[in-house]
């Protein structure tokens, strides 16, 4: 995994309004945001604060009603394999095996069979699913399905990963384990991560930088670097005074929002 080229994400005056039945709904207030390559940006906020809208704008699923989104200076107009998206639901295709799902990105690009098989095996191993390549997707547990989705996105080697509450539907133990795995994969990959969550704990644990968004219309009310390094994440970190203090402050900010 390596990242080359400029992948700075820049949002200028970006706002988004949905057309409602009676009136339009202002999901995002105009906002400015810049995300440097290699950052792990964790976004927290109450439900309905527009964080998913923000992610969909970055992915290119939506076009903002105002302002511009650019990556490396080029405007975002459509989805791109360079910006991988991990959803809360794994969205695996049950008519393909686990390996078939992971191979899909390279297959769409016309990578020859043997080569994409090699790619798939590499990422299946990275997420601990080597033995399940030939399995049916619906035979996997929720946590394993989510691992498979992450492997499928990584197989495209995107410079930017957009994650929309990827662990929100998992049990606490699985969630903790996947958080550590995600952080391990991200570390040293040089990839940018944009991670949405409703868990303050998760945001502070994973992010190098935490954004807090306000209720609708969503705007960024807090934007700070976490006060500890981007090194390995361990359970002990969660108990350190620095971690606890920062987490409390984020929680308080949301409470005021």
């Amino acid at each position: 995994m390596s990242v080359s080229g400029d992948h700075t994400v820049v949002l200028r005056g970006v706002a988004h309004r949905y057309r409602g039945r009676d009136a339009d709904v202002q999901a995002l207030a105009p906002l400015e945001l810049e995300i440097g390559a290699g950052e792990f940006v964790a976004v927290v906020g109450p439900s309905g604060c527009g964080k998913t809208t923000l992610l969909q704008l970055l992915a290119g699923f939506l076009t903002p009603t105002e302002g511009t989104v650019t990556v490396g200076g080029a405007p975002v107009t459509a989805p791109s394999p360079d910006r991988g998206v991990v959803f809360q639901q794994a969205n695996l295709y049950p008519w393909m095996t686990v390996r078939g799902n992971v191979e899909l990105g390279p297959r769409l690009r016309g990578v020859p069979r043997a080569e994409r098989r090699r790619i798939a095996e590499r990422y299946l191993e990275l997420v601990g699913l080597s033995e399940f390549g030939g399995a049916a997707t619906y035979e996997l547990s929720g946590g394993m399905q989510q691992r498979c989705q992450i492997a499928r996105v990584l197989a495209n080697d995107p410079a930017i990963m957009l994650l929309d509450e990827p662990f929100g539907a998992l049990d606490a133990l699985t969630r903790d384990r996947l958080q550590d795995e995600l952080h391990r994969i991200w570390r040293g990959s040089g990839k940018t991560a944009f991670f949405i969550t409703h868990s303050v704990e998760e945001a502070v644990y994973l992010g190098t930088r935490v954004l807090v968004m306000s209720p609708r219309p969503g705007r960024i009310v807090l934007d700070e670097q976490v006060p500890f390094d981007a090194g390995a994440r361990t359970a002990e970190l969660r108990a350190t005074p620095a971690f606890v203090a920062f987490r409390e402050r984020i929680a308080a900010t949301i409470g005021q929002g």
Partner: protein
Amino acid sequence: MRRVATRLAIPLLSLAILLGVWWLVVELRVWSEVFVPSPASVWERLKEGESVHDGQVGLSGYYLHQHLWASLWRILRGVAFALVFGVALGLALATIKPFRLVVEPYVNFIRSLPPLAYFSLLIIWFGIEDTSKIWLLFLAAFPPIALSVLAGVEGIRRERVDAARALGASRWQVVRFVTLPSILPQLFTGTRLALGFAWTTIVAAETVDGIPGIGGLAWQTKKFQQTDVAVLCIIVIGLTAIALDQLVKQLEKRVLPWHGKA
């Protein structure tokens, strides 16, 4: 084992009771035999249908299985054309909005017509041979397929499509890798409905020049009050339709092991 036995026993018992009541009604002469033929005479017609008797082959000059096969072959061709056209039409209805606005009312219009209503036109256009019959079966069979495909496409969760687009899929690749596999369950349902409609249309299709044909044979019985042949045709059509439906259902289980699980 015991469960299988119970599951078989109940339908067999109900069948035995039905045959018993039928036999009793005939024995007691509740109605004349012209109205209600006896099980024995239906059985005789079945045997005649598969043999040469008095120098005659089967019933109306063909063996019963030839009648059945002629009808089945018409239905299979009609439904095959309906599948090709119905899938294309369903996809177009689902993806091209203006097309849907214009075309969907016509699909519903055709769907609501009794096939006999337009059969005369088809005969005038395509003649009395198989072409007009297959057209009739096709027209009865394509709307359920097209509408099932439409419902299938509309039921695809948006994220399923978005996930593929974010992996780099083009519009066509989304259709090939996501849309088509996603709608297979609805396509199977639509095909089963279409086969059902084709069977209910077969007698209408074979009212004109329908011999050989099981529907044509049934239609002919009215001339000579052959109620036993009519009952025989009803039983054969019903059983064949059920068998074909089961075949498609089993095929569906084979092709779509994932259906209902993800």
